[in-house]
């Protein structure tokens, strides 16, 4: 396919940070054993923003959990900066953000942002973790809400605190599992701009799981489309839109084309999956 954007091209030649080869995941034992993922091939370039999109039950969250070292693959190899996911996690290369912000309701935004850092390294003094957390809260634009409890924050603010909590570890990679899935449409869009801006300032590698087609197109330079039965990657599509992306992107014919292509792929994959 035609790749018009300079960044996508450079991403294609950039260093590969995440590499999955023929990864499969099986759950259960004996006759109840079933494959949730099979034959997954995936490469993510350092500093890129990729999305994984697919219908519910296609194993996209499982794939993210494999990358996070929370699920061990039953076959294939996973390399993150040349390390196993478990080692990558130990070296704090990975930050995780889930759909639910999962903040601790008894802690302030600041202490929530500092929480994982505090847990990960006992040698750090409280003042150090808090200073670091405040720095990150500034980065996500929440320094003025530092003292507020989660119940006093809006849904979008809560999710930003949870992103700050992941960033406090200064990971190379942000793994995000439908992070805006529980937010209303307007907040969702605001959060998209916020995340792109954050990505460009921090230069993290982002792997973003979503079931929203336009979210995937708007945010990422590359979209991996997953299908069911068996769960696998159907296709990988480069998004021919330059960064920084603005509202004008939605008007770009390339946006509509990419969206249409993704929709066709998803429908096709879905149809195959629902056959008996």
């Amino acid at each position: 396919m035609a790749v018009s954007d300079g960044r996508t091209q450079s991403a294609a030649t950039a260093e590969t940070l995440i590499a999955l080869r023929d990864v499969a995941v099986e759950y259960g034992v004996g006759a109840g054993r079933h494959r949730v993922l099979s034959g997954i091939e995936l490469e993510v370039a350092r500093g890129s923003f990729v999305s994984i999109i697919g219908p519910s039950g296609c194993g996209k969250s499982t794939l993210l959990r494999v990358l996070a070292g929370l699920v061990a693959p039953s076959a294939g190899t996973v390399a993150i900066a040349g390390l196993s996911p478990a080692d990558a996690v130990k070296r704090r290369l990975i930050g995780l953000v889930f759909q639910d912000a999962n903040l601790l309701p008894w802690k302030s935004a600041l202490d929530n942002a500092a929480f994982l850092l505090e847990v990960s390294d006992r040698r750090l003094k409280r003042a150090e973790t808090r200073a670091r957390a405040l720095e990150i809260l500034k980065l996500v634009g929440l320094e003025r809400a530092a003292g507020r409890r989660p119940s006093q924050l809006s849904g979008g603010m809560r999710q930003r605190v949870s992103i700050a909590r992941a960033l406090a570890l200064d990971p190379e990679i942000l793994l995000m599992d439908e992070p805006f899935g529980a937010l209303d449409a307007i907040t969702r869009e605001e959060m998209s701009y916020f995340l792109l801006d954050l990505w460009q300032r921090t230069r993290k590698t982002v792997v973003f799981v979503t079931h929203s087609i336009d979210e995937a197109v708007f945010l990422s330079s590359r979209v991996h489309v997953m299908g069911v039965g068996p769960a696998r990657i159907l296709d990988t599509i480069d998004v021919p839109l330059a960064y920084p992306r603005t509202e004008a992107c939605f008007e770009d014919p390339a946006f509509a084309r990419t969206e249409a292509r993704l929709r066709a792929l998803l429908l096709e994959g879905h149809g195959k999956g629902s056959e008996p």
Partner: protein, 274 residues
């Protein structure tokens, strides 16, 4: 980006008091109505004061026997406090043991549930036999009655932490102990508080049962004694004092709850905002 946090404007002290007073009005009105009807029925049908005393007779007994009732209330309150505190400690400790030591928990939990099916009233005479007539058997009886809701609610709190939050902690190398202390226990506190509210009412019941079974002082003893003397008005007066003691303890726990877990959503059945 403008995201205003939802500020609670209702949370001023004066407004809250006014709402509380307003919400108490229907209950007070109904209570007065019942008392008036009761008084009227007794006078109209000439019911014997040995069977059912009129509210006015109960009020007279309350005033006449006030020092006696207060002395009895002090004895019962002491039993309730000791029994309740011990129930809370035993109940919470059991829940922590069950969660922290899985195998032990699997062995213990069914036995605890089994023990709950034993009618505790039947145990009261045995505790008197074992521990004598004083404070000890009442405290033991209260603990066996009141620890269970504490254990159950604390367990529910410890086990209801979002799994992805635990995954997040494990992903940065947190131990099981870290998860328990930093997340599970604080998360369980609001649940523990609701368990304690049930436990305090059970504790009052336990103290009265304990005194029925064998005592020489306390409100339960007084009820028992007055009923054998056919002083029915005094029985009712003692019941009024029991209720006041129970309600007082209940609201003391609720006040403590707001201090300990201010972040927890308020459960207020009288002012539901849905």
């Amino acid at each position: 980006m403008s995201e205003a946090a939802p500020r609670d404007a209702r949370d001023t002290m004066g407004a809250r008091l006014r709402t509380r007073a307003a919400s108490a009005l229907p209950a007070a009105g109904l209570a007065v109505l019942v008392l008036v009807l009761w008084e009227a029925a007794i006078r109209l049908f000439h019911v014997s004061p040995f069977i059912v005393p009129a509210p006015s007779a109960i009020a007279v007994a309350l005033v006449d026997k006030f020092p006696l009732l207060m002395a009895a209330a002090a004895v019962t309150a002491q039993e309730v406090v000791f029994g309740f505190v011990l129930s809370a400690l035993v109940g919470a400790a059991l829940a922590l043991l069950i969660v922290r030591f899985r195998l032990f928990g699997r062995a213990l939990y069914p036995l605890i549930v089994l023990f709950q099916t034993v009618p505790k009233v039947a145990l009261a005479p045995i505790f008197i036999l074992w521990f004598g007539f004083n404070l000890a058997p009442k405290i033991v009886l209260i603990v066996v009655i009141a620890f269970f809701p504490v254990t159950l609610d604390m367990l529910a709190g410890l086990e209801s932490v979002e799994p992805s939050l635990i995954a997040l902690m494990r992903s940065v190398g947190a131990s099981e102990h870290d998860v328990l202390v930093r997340v599970q226990i604080p998360h369980a506190l609001p649940h523990l508080m609701s368990g304690l509210k049930i436990a305090i009412t059970f504790s009052v019941i336990g103290a009265i049962i304990g005194e029925f079974a064998g005592a020489s002082a306390g409100l339960g003893y007084m009820i028992e004694f007055a009923s054998t003397q056919l002083e029915t008005a005094l029985v009712f007066a003692a019941l009024v004092v029991v209720s006041v003691v129970g309600v007082g303890f209940f609201y003391a726990i609720e006040a403590t709850e707001r201090l300990i877990v201010p972040w927890a959503p308020k459960f207020d059945p009288l002012n539901r905002r849905d």
